[in-house]
């Protein structure tokens, strides 16, 4: 199986997923009776009337979590090539990766000591 043939599987999954969504939407439109009223068209929010608009501001505290997530996401990206070559790299690779992760754990320790991860 060549490179592009192996991605045919991915393509088939994408096509099937899109098809499933399309079929479900069309079926729902075709089968469901349509009798809208003001109450039915209002946004569902746990059964009570919705408060405020959907385009609201979020809490600034989430931003720091997002920032930390980007850093550790990039760290995770470097782990993948190592994981693929795990056996041939052996002990040396393991120690190198532990040093790499260790340095970034220092950052996590710093964040915890600073109280960044504490929710108040």
């Amino acid at each position: 199986m060549t490179y592009f043939e192996s991605y045919l599987t991915v393509g088939a999954f994408i096509a099937l997923g899109a098809l499933l969504v399309g079929v479900v939407l069309v079926l729902a439109r075709a089968l469901a009776p349509s009798n809208p009223s003001a109450e039915k068209l209002s946004t569902y929010e746990c059964g009570v009337d919705p408060v405020g608009s959907g385009w609201s501001q979020t809490y600034v505290r989430y931003y720091l979590y997002g920032l930390l997530f980007v850093i550790f996401d990039i760290e995770a990206v470097f782990i993948f090539p190592w994981a693929i070559q795990l056996e041939s790299l052996g002990m040396f690779g393991l120690i190198e990766m532990l040093v790499f992760i260790g340095i970034l754990v220092l950052g996590l320790v710093y964040a915890i000591r600073k109280g960044v991860l504490r929710w108040e």
């Binding site: 501001q57 920032l67 970034l104």
Partner: protein
């Protein structure tokens, strides 16, 4: 390559479709009247670029694009938009009247970049993936020959993390520190 040979290759079809999608979404990123929608069009443009990398047999770069850019950076963009703009609805004031100048500059940039890449790599062909795959070669390279730069990357990430925390978070005053300990 003749036109018939081009049409016979299914990879070229995928390339053309994805290229059109990238062009459309990239234009919508700058013309969309809603910043949240612009960020979501950027997701589509980046996903298209990931497919382009897949077509070039660069699987690792494609997945990094999905993981880091779509998974993390775009989330940060959306947070940034939702924190700073309220309400984040439609905004007619996003465009200004210097569209022609920016379009001209973009075209010049496109020309320079195309010329540079064609003159540097115009005759190269991309090797299709065999064994070892590109990711395996990369793993050997970053933990073999480039192991010191790889460890330096962890220091760069550490400094980015500490810098981000320092910029984004104000230190507590001694009084507030006391209050927190008391709780």
């Amino acid at each position: 390559m003749t036109v018939d040979a081009w049409i016979a290759e299914p990879v070229n079809w995928v390339f053309s479709i994805v290229a059109v999608v990238i062009l459309f979404t990239a234009v919508r990123v700058v013309t969309s009247p809603n910043v949240v929608h612009a960020a979501l069009y950027l997701v589509a443009a980046l996903a298209g670029s990931a497919v382009m990398f897949l077509l070039l047999s660069a699987e690792f770069v494609a997945l990094v694009l999905v993981l880091v850019y779509i998974g993390a950076v775009l989330v940060l963009f959306l947070f940034g938009i939702m924190i700073t703009r309220a309400p984040t609805g439609f905004d007619e004031g996003l465009s200004n009247d210097r569209k022609l100048v920016s379009a001209a500059i973009s075209l010049v940039l496109l020309g320079v970049l195309s010329w540079a890449s064609l003159s540097a790599f115009g005759t190269d062909t991309v090797n299709t993936v065999g064994s070892p795959t590109a990711t395996e070669i990369l793993g050997d390279a970053i933990l073999g020959r480039f192991v010191i730069p790889f460890e330096v990357v962890s220091f760069i990430l550490l400094s980015a993390l500490i810098g981000g925390i320092t910029v984004a978070r104000r230190d507590l005053t001694p009084l507030e520190e006391e209050e927190r300990k008391a709780v």
